[in-house]
């Protein structure tokens, strides 16, 4: 626009008109529910009687309760295992997939399937596979002369079992994304590294890993958030048990809200979940984003 030409009213409001539809829905489905959640966390409400303002009581009650504290601890264990083991495995698998044998091709084609299957079915099938009496896993263990495990029926192995199932489900998707990133690395870089006498370790840490760091960073954040929201596998396979061995945050929220009708307690737990995920994401950005290589 030329200097001196006055902006009309339409010029000023036009950009807002364009972003209005998007902002409207973001407000309706993201901002408003978040605010409502925070308000509810300060109220006592059983879905029927009028809500009563109780201040920080819900938070005090939650943090005073062993089940809640354990659910945070369990969620953290689950998230660390899912992100740590999951991303390492996916990266190694993706690097291995770079080769071009029939086994690689088969793996490439098959590995995405768990992602396509509904989590509900996956959890059901694995519940059967992990059955302590006649499940497939114990049968295999017995063939090799190893003792049976109780899998989801024991406090000691329940969490591990759930993690195995979730890893199995998530591995293909993560690997596919990392594999795609690896395929995008120009082959000349590897040839140059060959001429530079770089060994495999050095090639992986100096070339492959930095080159796929943007994708790894994105996966790190989405996987962390996803892990903190884990629910379906727990709901189907263990219902938080045995005892509270697999009690996680979202399952705790579910229980408070829909089984015990304690909306205030559920909302307070929800706010805690939101805060944990928010803080973690900020920490990731502060600590790691400088190490990520963007083109």
């Amino acid at each position: 626009m030329h200097e001196g030409v006055k902006k009309t009213r339409w010029d000023i409001i036009r950009p807002y008109v364009f972003i209005f539809p998007a902002m409207f829905f973001i407000f309706l489905f993201v901002v408003y529910p978040s605010i409502d959640l925070i308000i509810r966390s300060f109220q006592e409400w059983n879905l029927i009687a009028a809500p009563k303002w109780v201040g920080l009581e819900n938070y005090k009650y939650n943090f005073g309760k062993r089940e809640f504290v354990e659910s945070i601890r369990n969620t953290a264990i689950y998230a660390v295992c899912m992100v740590g083991i999951g991303m390492t495995l996916s990266t190694l698998l993706a690097v291995w997939l770079k080769n071009n044998t029939w086994l690689n091709n088969l793996t490439r084609n098959v590995m995405f399937m768990p992602h396509v299957i509904s989590l509900l079915s996956v959890a059901m099938v694995w519940t059967w596979i992990m059955n302590k009496d006649n499940g497939l896993l114990n049968t295999v263990l017995n063939i090799f002369g190893l003792p049976s495990l109780k899998w989801i029926d024991s406090r000691d192995t329940a969490m591990m079992s759930v993690i195995i199932v979730a890893l199995w489900k998530a591995l293909g998707y993560n690997t596919l994304l990392i594999h795609a990133a690896i395929q995008n690395i120009p082959s000349e870089l590897y040839e140059a590294a060959d001429l530079d006498n770089a060994n495999r370790r050095s090639v992986f840490f100096k070339i492959t890993l930095p080159m796929i760091s943007p994708q790894l960073f994105t996966l790190l954040i989405t996987n962390t958030i996803g892990s903190f929201k884990v629910f379906e596998t727990i709901r189907i396979m263990t219902k938080g048990g045995p005892g509270s061995a697999t009690q996680v945050l979202v399952y705790y929220i579910y229980k408070q809200a829909f089984q015990l009708n304690k909306i205030g307690l559920a909302a307070a737990a929800g706010v805690v979940l939101m805060a944990i995920v928010g803080v973690l994401t900020i920490v990731y950005f502060v600590v790691l984003s400088k190490k990520v290589h963007y083109q």
Binding site: E188, E191, D194, D196, N197, A198, K206, M211, Q295
Partner: protein, 349 residues
């Protein structure tokens, strides 16, 4: 000493044979340029020397030593890639010293070498920068420095100037020539740009379809082409090729060997034609001249001719003849004389 010798080398991609039983010697200390159209196998040859795209069969010798099965890093060669292949996540210094680090060269020695090569290519002030903040010319220099720091016996270059703009390119050409003079190592340089080939090479290898068409000095490649392919590939604008004697003979002359005049001349081959187009290039002018249903390009220092009728003439010694198999008919041979008489006297009388 760094002579490279190919012995019965073949290369297949899948079932497709790119190069078949090729023999070739690249002389020690030469600046050898491999040139040819896309897909002729020139880059494939270069990659075989580097060891990053090994031959399917045959042997490659460096200084008489069989390097066919030696890994790239142990061959004592360095390569500059077409897109430079600079490690984008490393700083300039890390890029240049990566090879030394992998070879466990001590830090002081590394620092000294990095300083030495980066000063010589003029990027010593960029060492801590990341490549994505640098220009094409600067990246080119990093790639050169990375190759130089290894003090290789052979420099391999795969169209290293093709990503630069015209001005930078001609500057880098001069620098590469100087670099070659200074280092006195063998340079093997792949390009499809004949100006690069002619200006830098001490020796040109012209390839087509995986075969060596002609291997000669730039001067001989230009003046004494052994076949029509060479004659037409080298030179800009292209060699004029006229079909004569019922397509049995190709009658050729270079655009700059044609004389233009308003009056008929008494040179051997003189025809009357018409200027159709005129392209001013500054120092010289290109004319397209049509005569007897054919069209030829003429390069002249004189830009005063206007579109319209003109006489063109070519001296006898500037005429090259190729037979029906596109092979040269040796100048000064009796056969050459006979054909000249037929063409000069009958076909275009």
């Amino acid at each position: 000493m760094a002579e490279i010798r190919f012995e019965k080398v073949s290369k297949k991609f899948g079932t497709k044979t790119i190069i078949k039983d090729l023999d070739l010697t690249i002389e020690d200390g030469s600046f050898t340029v491999m040139i040819g159209p896309s897909g002729c196998g020139k880059t494939t040859l270069l990659r075989m020397i580097a060891g990053i795209g090994p031959q399917t069969s045959g042997k490659i010798y460096l200084d008489g030593k069989d390097i066919s099965d030696i890994p790239p890093a142990k061959r004592n060669v360095a390569m500059v890639f077409q897109n430079y292949a600079i490690y984008p996540t490393m700083t300039v210094r890390e890029n240049i010293e990566f090879g030394l680090k992998n070879n466990k060269v001590p830090k002081e020695e590394r620092d000294r070498l990095v300083r030495e090569v980066t000063e010589s290519v003029g990027i010593d002030d960029l060492l801590e920068r990341k490549p994505n903040t640098l220009s094409g010319g600067q990246r080119q220099r990093i790639a050169l420095a990375r190759a130089m720091i290894k003090k290789p016996k052979v420099f391999l270059m795969d169209e290293p100037l093709s990503n630069l703009d015209a001005k930078l390119r001609s500057g880098m050409r001069t620098e590469l020539i100087e670099l070659h003079k200074r280092l006195k190592t063998t340079f093997v340089y792949v390009t499809h740009d004949q100006i690069e080939a002619m200006s830098m090479a001490s020796h040109i290898i012209l390839m087509n379809d995986g075969e060596i068409i002609q291997s000669d000095s730039p001067r001989d490649i230009y003046n004494n082409p052994k076949n029509l392919f060479t004659a037409q590939f080298i030179g800009s604008p292209q060699m004029n090729v006229l079909k004569a004697a019922g397509n049995e003979i190709s009658f050729c002359f270079r655009p700059e060997k044609v004389h233009m005049s308003i009056e008929a001349s008494n040179l051997f081959y003189c025809r009357k034609g018409e200027i159709v187009t005129k392209e001013m290039l500054g120092s010289e002018t290109l004319y397209q001249i049509r005569f007897e249903g054919q069209s030829v390009m003429v390069k002249s220092l004189d830009d005063n001719f206007q579109e319209g009728p003109i006489y063109i003439s070519v001296d006898k010694q500037d005429i090259l003849l190729f037979d029906i198999d596109d092979k040269i008919i040796p100048p000064h041979s009796t056969q050459h004389e006979q054909w000249l008489n037929i063409i000069g006297g009958v076909t275009y009388a």
